[in-house]
């Protein structure tokens, strides 16, 4: 049974650093739409992009992305 999904704290991490989606997008080398899609759970980022986001936020990967139940709200 695959009832787990990728959850993220991207919005919180961004707010803590006073960064806009566009700022983070430039830092991670993607467009703002990619960041928005990840934040809203419409896209699961590749490992490469997840690592780039973690590097841009200077935070460990597991504080930004984690596994959680598919039905729970973030």
């Amino acid at each position: 049974m695959d009832n787990e999904t990728l959850r993220n704290t991207l919005k919180v991490q961004r707010a803590m650093r006073d960064l806009t989606q566009a700022d983070l997008a430039v830092m991670a080398g993607v467009t703002r739409r990619s960041i928005n899609a990840i934040e809203t759970g419409r896209m699961v980022p590749s490992v490469l992009l997840a690592l780039k986001i973690a590097r841009a936020l200077e935070a460990p990967l597991e504080t930004i992305f984690s596994l959680g139940p598919a039905t729970a709200s973030v």
């Binding site: 566009a22 430039v26 830092m27 993607v30 467009t31 703002r32 739409r33």
Partner: protein, 159 residues
């Protein structure tokens, strides 16, 4: 740091501009594909009708292609330079690539599923001779596939 912020702002603005540029081009391509597909089908299905006269104006095609190419290559004074960093960023964007992959998978399924109804339509219902039936199926499959790909991509990639 004071130099990085304006540069980032500039890159953000350029990226947004090229995203809109890309979406506009996709929309123009969708319209062109639908028009060409409809024209091709009209020519194939009514060979003795008015559409043959339209097809005889094929000399105008290079002019139309030049106008379309000129329209696609610039947007608000900016040209599409594949080596520009913002264009590379847009083209390699993960969300865009994901959407293109989803759209291409769906377009392939649509084309495959449509073969049986198209064969019935052109072969049995319209009773076209074999060469015209094959041509009509090819034109309709191409139009259907490309239109599905572009329309679905534009839908998935919306804000």
């Amino acid at each position: 740091m004071t130099y990085i912020v304006p540069m980032n702002q500039q890159l953000e603005d350029s990226t947004e501009l090229f995203l809109r540029f890309s979406r506009r081009n996709m929309f123009i391509l969708l319209v062109v594909v639908l028009l060409l597909g409809a024209a091709a089908l009209a020519v194939m299905l009514t060979p003795s009708g008015r559409s043959w006269r339209i097809a005889s104006q094929a000399a105008l095609l290079p002019v139309a292609i030049a106008i379309i190419a000129a329209t696609l290559s610039s947007y608000r004074g900016r040209s599409w330079n594949p080596d520009a960093p913002e264009v590379k960023l847009v083209m390699n964007d993960e969300w865009r690539r994901t959407n293109m992959l989803r759209a291409s998978r769906t377009a392939l399924i649509v084309v495959l599923v449509a073969q049986w109804p198209l064969a019935l339509l052109f072969g049995f219902y319209m009773s076209l001779p074999s060469p015209r039936q094959a041509s009509a199926m090819a034109a309709s499959s191409l139009t259907l596939g490309l239109a599905t790909l572009l329309a679905l991509f534009l839908f998935l990639d919306r804000e």
